[in-house]
Subunit: 312 residues, 2 copies
């Protein structure tokens, strides 16, 4: 059991690369990790699982990018609460054949993404099997002074803002995005967002999550939606409109948040957070209707389209 | 997206069954959970993944027992640190066909195990794919006044104790065990264990983890090892000895811990924790040798045998 092969070999390899961190007095290698958290803040907990074939194609993406994405999707969830990440747990199911090399490459990607935001890997679980590569990351963070920025905090009349631009993430951004932690930190420092979410399912689907949770509707201005170059490129291939791609593609990992009109005016003037463009795209409404507003003022029903795992 | 089918249908079903908990002001349904933890204790974090075909046979075990086990193996890790569980995150990969019924049954098992130790499910991630059933639980706990009871805290001369009995867990106990949280709580209340681990890989392998981490060896008294009835039943089938099964089968989820001789004498007198028998099985030694001691005093090398995920 002292050898460097098998499950324990990979664990030894990982433990040897785990530095010390002031927040993690006990890192990988024991039954649990030991972590120092503040008692005066809410602890934020989130988990996301990525699955070969369903969430990614290993041959296409490569293990390093998969590892990076697995960490970044969770960091994006912490950003969506206006929080700061503290540390991560990682469990993986690797193929028996070639699992060691794959495990090391995944770990490099996880660390690259985590290190960028001072988020060490505090522990994990390493398995092998005959099935597809599976990676599950659980992330621990802390809320800001404002507490967790939830989906259900919006009020009618608030202005809706987004970071960045939308659509066509499948062309590469869905693997190589930067979680909007710096933007969220600046936002909660200088404003009081009333509700927030990150866009994983799709802009129209995720804004609808805020509407549902807050028991409100929304009007989104068609011309205001920031459409990415990728959405235009993809639209040229698919025959759908760039707007349609922007509203429904998903995996943009941008932030959607609401502000009171007073704070909203200040945000419109500033127009960016941490160097990333911020755009007002509409308003929350007391009716629970969900509408797109064309430039001429006409309204049409907005369908909250986005990805949902099929199941029966 | 308001329907009750697919991923979101199952999430709605789960959210509807999630009660409130004083430690979890924000439960399932947002980007992250919000949890209240004490700032004066180390937070314990652990994760374990169970895989269909590799860790369990779904048809044989049933989803309810798999859910229960997925929670209990993590609770056992918190017990092994002398800690108290607080809440769990659960991510699952379900088959597309029949995933809903399976997901509900898994959830019932997870809740049954969690509720027994006042451990709510604070959040999770639900996916479907063509691969095998995969479930990953991350557990958050808090250490006791003593701090985390680590593997590397043992000293030469300390006495080695175990809860319960060992071997043959494959006959059923590996699915239907009770994590030793009550025993661990009584232990850290009345004693100061210097090192501790739970037995998942196998008694000889897991005690060896303490030896390695503490840079020590151990002598284990053959006649002292509590052998389970299951080990005897299995031995009658396999032709191996009950002792061999007790030392190497694994998944007993009992505790192994060390005490100073002074505290050890007190433990020998008490002979149980929370109603579970506790047995002295040997002593830690300054040499890094690992030995079994027969009744006549002769020593033989003890091989740290147990399960390790194969990988190349």
């Amino acid at each position: 059991m002292n050898d460097t092969t098998g499950e324990f070999g990979l664990i030894r390899w990982i433990v040897a690369r785990s530095g010390t961190h002031p927040r993690v007095p006990l890192g990988p290698g024991d039954d649990t990790a030991g972590v120092l958290l503040r008692g005066d803040r809410q602890t934020l907990l989130t988990t996301d699982m990525l699955l070969e074939g369903s969430c990614f194609l290993l041959a296409e993406a490569g293990a390093l990018r998969i590892g990076r994405k697995a960490m970044n999707v969770n960091l994006s969830d912490i950003a969506a609460m206006g929080g700061t990440p503290v540390c991560a747990l990682v469990s993986v199911a690797l193929p028996r054949d070639g699992g060691r090399a794959l495990g090391e490459e995944l770990y490099r990607g996880l660390r690259e993404a985590g290190d960028r935001f001072d988020t060490p890997i505090a522990g994990g679980d390493t398995n092998t099997w005959d099935g597809g590569l599976t990676i599950s990351v659980a992330l621990v963070g802390e809320s800001s002074d404002l507490g967790p920025i939830r989906r259900d905090g919006a009020s009618a009349g608030e202005w809706i803002f987004v970071t960045g631009s939308f659509g066509g993430s499948i062309l590469g951004r869905h693997l190589d995005f930067t979680p909007r932690l710096a933007e969220a930190a600046e936002l909660v420092r200088d404003f009081h967002p009333r509700s927030m979410i990150d866009v994983s399912d799709g802009l129209s689907a995720d804004l609808w999550h805020i509407c549902e949770a807050s028991a409100l509707g929304a009007i989104v201005d068609t011309d205001a939606i920031p459409i990415s170059d990728d959405a235009r490129t993809l639209a040229a291939r698919t025959g759908r409109t760039p707007l349609d791609h922007a509203l429904s593609d998903g995996e943009d990992f941008e932030l959607v948040f609401t502000l009171t009109p007073d704070e909203g005016r200040r945000m419109v003037e500033r127009a960016s957070l941490a160097g990333t463009p911020v755009t007002k795209i509409g308003e929350m409404t007391a009716s629970t209707r969900y509408h797109l507003r064309r430039a001429d003022g006409t309204l049409e029903v907005l369908e909250p389209k986005g990805y949902s795992h099929p199941m029966s």
